[in-house]
Symmetry: C2
Subunit: 446 residues, 2 copies
Amino acid sequence: MADDERVDLVDLVHNNDLTGIRLWLAEHPPYEIADELARMDSHLAIIPFRLLDKDRELEVFEELEPVHQQEILIGLRDGAFRELLEEMDPDDRARLIGEAPAKIATRALAGLSPAERKMTAALLGYPEESVGRYMTPETVVLHRDLTVGRALEVVRAKGADAETVYTLPVVDDGRRLAGTVQLSDLVVSAPETLIKDIVDVLVPRVRATEPAEGAARLMQEANLVALPVVDSEERFVGLLTFDDALELIEAADSEDIARQSGASPVAGHYVAASVLRLARARSVWLFLLIVASTLTVNVMQGFEATLEQVTALALFVPMLTGTGGNVGSQSATAIVRALAVGEVRVRDLPKVAWKECRVGFLLGIMLAAIALLIGSFLVGVQIAVAVATSVVAVCTWAAIIGSTMPLLARRVGVDPAVVSAPLVSTLVDATGLLIYFTVARAILGV
Amino acid sequence: MADDERVDLVDLVHNNDLTGIRLWLAEHPPYEIADELARMDSHLAIIPFRLLDKDRELEVFEELEPVHQQEILIGLRDGAFRELLEEMDPDDRARLIGEAPAKIATRALAGLSPAERKMTAALLGYPEESVGRYMTPETVVLHRDLTVGRALEVVRAKGADAETVYTLPVVDDGRRLAGTVQLSDLVVSAPETLIKDIVDVLVPRVRATEPAEGAARLMQEANLVALPVVDSEERFVGLLTFDDALELIEAADSEDIARQSGASPVAGHYVAASVLRLARARSVWLFLLIVASTLTVNVMQGFEATLEQVTALALFVPMLTGTGGNVGSQSATAIVRALAVGEVRVRDLPKVAWKECRVGFLLGIMLAAIALLIGSFLVGVQIAVAVATSVVAVCTWAAIIGSTMPLLARRVGVDPAVVSAPLVSTLVDATGLLIYFTVARAILGV
């Protein structure tokens, strides 16, 4: 969107052009301002942030990710610091404090009013990445015995303090969740209608301790603007709203995508991430994988005599390991995604393995035909037949490994996305070479 | 969620247990029913679908993806077919008809009432994957000169037919979009307030012809429940709602993830996809990549004499190409994602290339140390030094290639996600081998 803009905020900041910065800020919506701040170094980002109007300051701040919020907070004086935190939505504040270093967290909690501090502490009591950390406790709750007319008065009176009034939780005497009504239903219903007659009791609900990502995907499947959250005794405690759900889904997808390439997810903006942080996020798996690839060296060593006799066999090693890796990565990627969006379940394992086995075999036949052609042309039919035979076996094997490993990971409680393309490739490499040299020895008789 | 359920709908269908099916359907919400139907073969899915109540039939149908909707439609008699289509949301219907084979599309359009047909034809006039295909034209439009009290009466009168009433478009005399008001604002404002005094004029808007994915990501960034859509003359034509945005984002992410593994996205449920369809989706890139990998055979052939002299050099080929591929894939994946969520822009190319160059170098140094250790232990220091030196060069090179290619793809108007992990691996393989053998020859003096 912003690719055709003339002036960059970062240039204005570099030139210390305060008038220019003020003008830029006035012309852009909060989410675009937040986006630009996230791209800057923190000592620069604080400059335009301080120039924002009081009420826009909060809007921009809430659009930032916690890691960037922390950087801004460090640059603020006590008064501004306290004011900003006091005004934040309780769920956003809890997440910020939960992720911040102890020093900032203590300073933040100390500055809050007793009511806000209590609310924040309650949210912080829920496990990280649970629904409790993302839900808003600031809602308008309706009793099931109210009339629609009275309910609308309640919304009018308390609606301004709530994060959302589109989905209204309905409770019974024990604050147990009966269901929800939509504000639109209230608006179109006759005032004397009873809430209990229009409440949607079949609406899905989640526990505050459940994983937040699952709840967000449920909202997506069920098309909900807000999802009611209950405690272990079915009492209403908060609402998960669609904007948090959207954020959770984007974050989960980014995380899965990073994991799939064998990297840990990096919080915050790519542009603002340091070289060291990026390298660290990618190094763990690379380290493990290069160690694992010692296995390929061992296999090759086991066939060194064969290689010395027929050097031409070595020529096809990169093609073979590459192809096996590609097929395995495709299967792994497809299954990890299908698991993430709920299309495949752990108990589908036999069905999935059998399907991928056939897919791998089919692809193997096709690719073997090409390998046979290329090989015959470059080094002769005999070696080409060995290569082609191996391609079929390796593709089938790679598809089975790539598809079953994510399901096995989920079964033992590990994020299936750790079954990354590089991991599958590396595992398939060693076994693929074993197949290749065994087949070649048999065909060539060496 | 459903992993611990006792009875599967598909088992009930297989056993032709009609009572059991009816009970199952009554106990599950529409989105779960749709999920189960999507997992079945179409000739089976039609059985429980026919057993649904009239009003739930539509809810379940709207939760299905177009590809599964088509399968259901084919199994319906004319009356049921027509009724279902007539009741659908116009945007869902337009998408279904737009994607269906001509035979179904004609039968569908012919059965519609004139009003619904007109609306559908209008939506079908927008390009595929544009906002126009996903927006709903059924909205409650407010004139800016209304009072809040009168506006609420309009919502009450027309709200039942609209897909959403939470975001209400506000227009001037020429139906040009002035902005939006939220239903919650109407509810909490005094009845005599004028709409033009509370309208949010800064709300983002998009053209109906713009790409739908970009609009969905804008809604996510700006936290909107609904985004107003205008024509080329700024006249209001519809609203893009958050449920469509969620769907668009999930679909776009699935597509990117599939592309990143070198596969075309497969529409519909994984479980329902046939072996042939899955193989076809993955075959194109595999075919291109195995042909491209002929390059590695050529490079190896160029150094066949060296290989014959020092066979041990061949042992490290899989480790080297594997490591280069891993580093390159990580860079490509990171940049494709950063582009998708808008964290990186095309003009950041030099900055990104320089950053990734340093990341690749740093990772290369670390991995080279390990390669040196393993190599010295297995085959002696000289070859190990050659391997280690090549690892540094290959990692740096792979990171640069992996990060710049997606940006170059976007620059020339190609989806950056086609720069898949397998593509980067294959490209890096050939150059990596060239580096390796050149370095080895220099160090070993052969």
